[in-house]
């Protein structure tokens, strides 16, 4: 959709409204949590309206371009906090448009974690076994598939070889990528130009639209209030399509039920801002934020050693020199995903690509005598960029993030026209979190510096704090009202009819990429949302097939749903 069409669509929803617009179910956000809900509820017969704060781009608008204002800055937000910075999607499709489409299921021990509360923090109703049928639904819908070794990229292959050399195993990651369409351009964070990445723009969202769901881009919900009939009214700003700091209009829309899926970094902020109208929020709202224990190390490989020690070479004669080639991550080692290890010592180490800018600034020059992230040594390090190998740690943190008072609008005070903002999140890593990072750093160093393969250093946390591309848990599910804002059906405690289905609902760090788990939890929440909608008088049913019509996944969840499914 071009910009003129977006502005037209946005403006058309507010002009001259004396009476608030009505819909059955309002979905706030269009990432995994929003898109999955929108699809099932629209397919089940409800009138569904989706408000998305970011723009709506189609494949031909995803650009290979770092220029400010290109899709690389239009669709992603970088919100700096106090001790933690968060990257997240800001567009129709949410995180799925900017993600790397790596879709492992969370290991079994994750669901048994105690974290910072000293007892199991997941709801008793959820384990890996009970979530697997919902994982299956997502795997069918996107779909998710295994990569063969022949599809593993050079950086992934190099990481595998280095792991093997050090006695570690390594796995090609399950992905939501059509590798036959993929050009290995590594522009995934700007949106996939080739429809190879199976973002929500290719499955749940078009299916939702086909059932009548309306998706409105550039609509940023600020807060919720109550209607007289037990429903909710969303108050939104319309965002300028180029300068996101500018409000182009305002409006309201009323619904009998709300699915809040604005993203981990925005959902609790909307709820905080709603307290004046709705009354107190559960104490865990905006608390227990997790950065998924994330951490990065970047190595400069010694090309000669890659050839002589690992025996690798490319057809053109190079041993590696392929940092730019690929599709984000493709190989991870799961040797430390061992449930018998103590909590905070379990992590995965995944090869990753970050584009320059976000992927270069925080990298520290190994062994620098002076400043590590800028200056003489850093420049020398950056000149080895094509021999870089970046390794991504996902570990167990302590849910130590807390959101402060909300900014005037949105979830950040925007600094730049797009992408860069300052948020209210505070995060001071505990000794537990630091232990996981230190053990992961040591493992990466052991693997990559063995026999002189590389020089490696972790990214600095001194510049923008820690950082995460997988924010979680700021409004989480659980059985304990003191430490979870949502019950195990994702309903906001004390505010019936508000369901939260995004990453904020995940109880804690997952030690792997979380999109698959966020999506599976959203799928699992749908029958309960349908039941709540029916109690509110909406004629909606559960039982839609996969977005492309497949029915295996639906059959797999029959025993978990309250109503018989019709084939």
């Amino acid at each position: 959709m071009n910009r003129a069409e977006q502005v037209s669509r946005a403006a058309g929803t507010t002009a001259g409204q004396d009476k608030a617009e009505q819909t059955d179910i309002l979905v706030i956000g269009s990432g995994f949590g929003g898109a999955i809900a929108a699809y099932h509820l629209a397919a089940g017969g409800a009138k569904v309206t989706v408000l998305e704060r970011g723009p709506w781009l189609s494949s031909d608008e995803f650009e290979h371009d770092f220029k400010l204002g290109a899709s690389s800055t239009r669709v992603i937000d970088f919100v700096a906090g106090d001790g933690m910075s968060v990257l997240s999607g800001n567009c129709v499709g949410g995180g799925s448009v900017v993600y790397f489409a790596t879709m492992p299921r969370a290991p079994r021990f994750v669901f048994e974690r105690h974290g910072s509360i000293g007892r199991r923090m997941w709801p008793a109703a959820i384990s890996r076994d009970t979530l697997d049928p919902w994982y299956d639904r997502v795997a069918e819908a996107l779909p998710v598939s295994m990569q063969s070794w022949g599809e593993v990229t050079y950086p992934g292959g190099l990481w595998a070889a280095a792991c093997d050399h050090a006695g570690w195993t390594a796995n090609p990651s399950p992905v939501a990528i059509d590798t036959a369409k993929c050009t290995n351009c590594n522009w995934m964070m700007a949106g996939c130009r080739f429809d190879a990445k199976r973002s929500l723009l290719l499955n749940y969202l078009p299916a939702a639209v086909s059932y009548g769901a309306q998706i409105r881009p550039l609509h940023e919900v600020q807060f919720l209030s109550r209607t007289g009939d037990g429903g909710y009214r969303a108050h939104y700003n319309i965002i300028d399509d180029e300068d996101y700091r500018v409000t182009a209009g305002q409006g309201t829309i009323e619904a009998k039920l709300v699915v809040l899926a604005a993203g981990t970094a925005a959902t609790p902020v909307i709820l905080q801002r709603s307290e004046a109208a709705l009354g107190p929020m559960p104490p865990a709202t905006g608390r227990y934020f997790s950065g998924n224990g994330e951490r990065l190390n970047t190595a400069a490989m010694d090309e000669d050693k890659v050839r002589s020690v690992l025996g690798l070479s490319r057809p053109g004669g190079q041993a590696y020199a392929a940092n730019q080639i690929g599709r984000g991550p493709s190989v991870a080692t799961w040797d430390r995903l061992d449930g018998s290890l103590p909590e905070y010592s379990r992590f995965s180490l995944e090869q990753l690509y970050f584009p320059p800018g976000l992927g270069t600034i925080l990298a520290q020059a190994p062994g620098a005598a002076g400043p590590t992230w800028f200056g003489l040594d850093k420049k020398q390090f950056v000149q080895d960029w094509d021999s870089w190998l970046t390794i991504f740690t996902m570990s167990e943190d302590d849910n130590e993030g807390v959101f402060g008072p909300p900014p005037p609008t949105g979830n950040a005070v925007r600094i730049s026209q797009q992408m860069l903002g300052r948020g209210s999140l505070r995060y001071e890593p505990t000794v537990n979190t630091r232990r996981g990072w230190n053990e992961a750093d040591a493992a990466v160093k052991d693997i990559l510096e063995r026999d002189g393969l590389a020089r490696v250093a972790p990214w600095t946390n001194d510049v923008v704090g820690a950082y995460t591309v997988h924010p979680l848990s700021s409004c989480r599910i659980g059985d304990d009202p003191a430490t979870s804002a949502l019950d195990d059906r994702h309903e906001l405690r004390g505010h019936p009819g508000i369901f939260v289905t995004d990453g904020s609902a995940v109880p804690g760090a997952l030690t792997v990429n979380p999109a698959m788990t966020i999506a599976a939890l959203a799928e699992r929440a749908i029958p309960g949302i349908v039941a709540a909608a029916r109690q509110r008088g909406l004629d909606v049913s559960y039982g839609a097939p996969s977005p492309d019509g497949e029915t295996n996944g639906r059959r797999g969840v029959v025993s978990f749903t309250p109503n018989p499914l019709s084939e």
Binding site: P104, L158, D164, S173, I325, L337, P356, D462
Partner: protein, 189 residues
């Protein structure tokens, strides 16, 4: 700004250039270049377009560059007094500092314990991005023009349609044992 106060604009520019040169150092553009210290061979952030990027309205800091230059020079004057470093009055104080002193001051300004750290980090980020991403230009144009940063990094050229494709992308063989507890769907158990 430039037409109304050319001297102030010139001073602002050389001050910001000197800051950007600390972030990604480069060679002098000419023998009498004062802003770029020439601490390393090859072009740095200034040659890569740091000032052009900082002056882009999209950054959100273009309107604050006067204040940045003023504050940077105030900090430089205080640093010089504290360290007993004489300053050449013919250039702004930050420019008058040696490369080592500029670097030491930027380390102080961007250190975690500086309450104003965020402001200086922001300036450093954009200076860095001028070199690493040429974010003031379309990337394909920047590469065609031989952009110093992208060239130094070895960033590949796009296809004629301005898009990147890598047909040769895989070693094509198994390079490690997979984890014994991998599930049939390819996930950790």
């Amino acid at each position: 700004m430039e037409s109304e106060h050319p001297d102030r604009y010139r001073d602002r520019t050389v001050t910001l250039e000197a800051f950007a040169d600390v972030i990604v150092p480069g060679k002098k553009r000419s023998p009498d270049d004062r802003a770029v210290a020439g601490a390393t061979p090859g072009p740095g952030a200034v040659a890569a377009g740091a000032i052009e990027l900082l002056e882009e309205p999209a950054t959100g800091i273009a309107d604050g560059l006067d204040n940045y230059a003023r504050d940077l020079n105030e900090r430089a004057r205080a640093y010089a007094e504290q360290c007993g470093v004489p300053l050449d009055d013919s250039v702004p104080p930050f420019v008058a500092l040696s490369f080592a002193d500029r670097t030491a001051l930027v380390q102080v300004l961007t250190a975690p314990d500086n309450p104003e750290k965020e402001l200086w980090v922001l300036l450093a980020l954009f200076a860095n991005m001028a070199f690493d991403t040429a974010a003031h230009m379309h990337t394909a144009d920047a590469i065609a023009a031989g952009h110093p940063g992208l060239t130094a990094m070895g960033f590949a050229k796009p296809d004629p349609d301005g898009l990147w494709r890598f047909e040769d992308y895989s070693y094509g063989r198994q390079l490690a044992r997979i984890h014994p507890a991998t599930t049939p769907s390819g996930s950790p158990a």
